[in-house]
């Protein structure tokens, strides 16, 4: 199952990547996606640690680790927001 993943702000710079298509086994949720990214090691496992200094949105809405993923979903991973 293919989803698109977007990275923003410090995470985009750290990973050197704005977006990518990722294939996940079905059924998948946010935690499966994060586990797949952490498995890359290096900056990925460091930045996406359990300290939760990152947030996830699925189809432009804030999500949690157990949010289900479907084919074609847009998943965004970013640091806590600092607007205003």
């Amino acid at each position: 199952m293919m989803v698109s993943v977007l990275y923003f702000a410090s995470l985009r710079e750290l990973f050197g990547l704005e977006n990518e298509q990722l294939v996940l086994p079905v059924p998948a949720d946010v935690s499966a996606l994060i586990a797949a990214l952490r498995a890359r090691g290096g900056a990925w496992s460091d930045a996406l640690g359990t300290d939760r200094r990152w947030r996830v949105a699925v189809n432009q809405e804030l999500a949690t680790m157990d949010t289900k993923l479907n084919v074609g979903d847009e998943v965004a991973i970013f640091p806590p927001v600092t607007g205003g």
């Binding site: 923003f8 702000a9 949105a57 432009q60 809405e61 640091p79 600092t82 607007g83 205003g84």
Partner: protein, 155 residues
């Protein structure tokens, strides 16, 4: 009625206020908040502030926050303008303006929209300082300000 704009260019508080009150004699109160770029943050001088956002989500998130404000208070009109791109000290960053019949609703809703915007709308600030560039860290005080509204509603 609401207006939500994300833009590079500056905004004019007076012009926005005039547009909001023009021809609407139901409005008895307008509360507004303007956020500005400061020249110092966390002990370092700031020469530029660059705002990045997640365009597909920004509008949705701001729309959701304004809808929730309209559900909680009796509001007549809401305007939210947030700038993105490169800004400098003294520049305006954000405007939240709320119109209601009486002041209480406008004051509270204005603060609520700002508190939620700070913790839920996908904007990120990067500062240029003499020591180089750095991403602004989220503040716990902003999380507390936002969660306060949930407590107040639950109690």
């Amino acid at each position: 009625m609401t207006t939500i704009r994300i833009q590079n260019q500056d905004f004019d508080l007076g012009a926005e206020l005039n547009a909001m009150r023009a021809g609407n004699a139901k409005i008895g109160a307008v509360a507004s908040f303007v956020g500005l770029v400061r020249d110092v943050n966390d002990g370092a001088g700031v020469s530029t502030l660059t705002l990045e956002h997640y365009p597909a989500m920004t509008r949705k998130a701001l729309g959701g926050i304004v809808d929730e404000a309209c559900a909680r208070w009796e509001l007549i009109d809401v305007t939210v303008i947030h700038r993105v791109g490169e800004l400098r000290p003294t520049d305006q960053i954000v405007l939240v303006m709320v119109a209601s019949r009486h002041r209480g609703d406008a004051f509270q809703a204005c603060e609520f929209v700002m508190d939620y915007l700070k913790t839920q709308a996908p904007f990120w600030k990067k500062e240029s300082t003499p020591q180089g560039e750095r991403w602004v860290e989220a503040r716990e005080s902003d999380e507390l300000a936002s969660s306060r509204w949930r407590v107040e509603q639950d109690s």
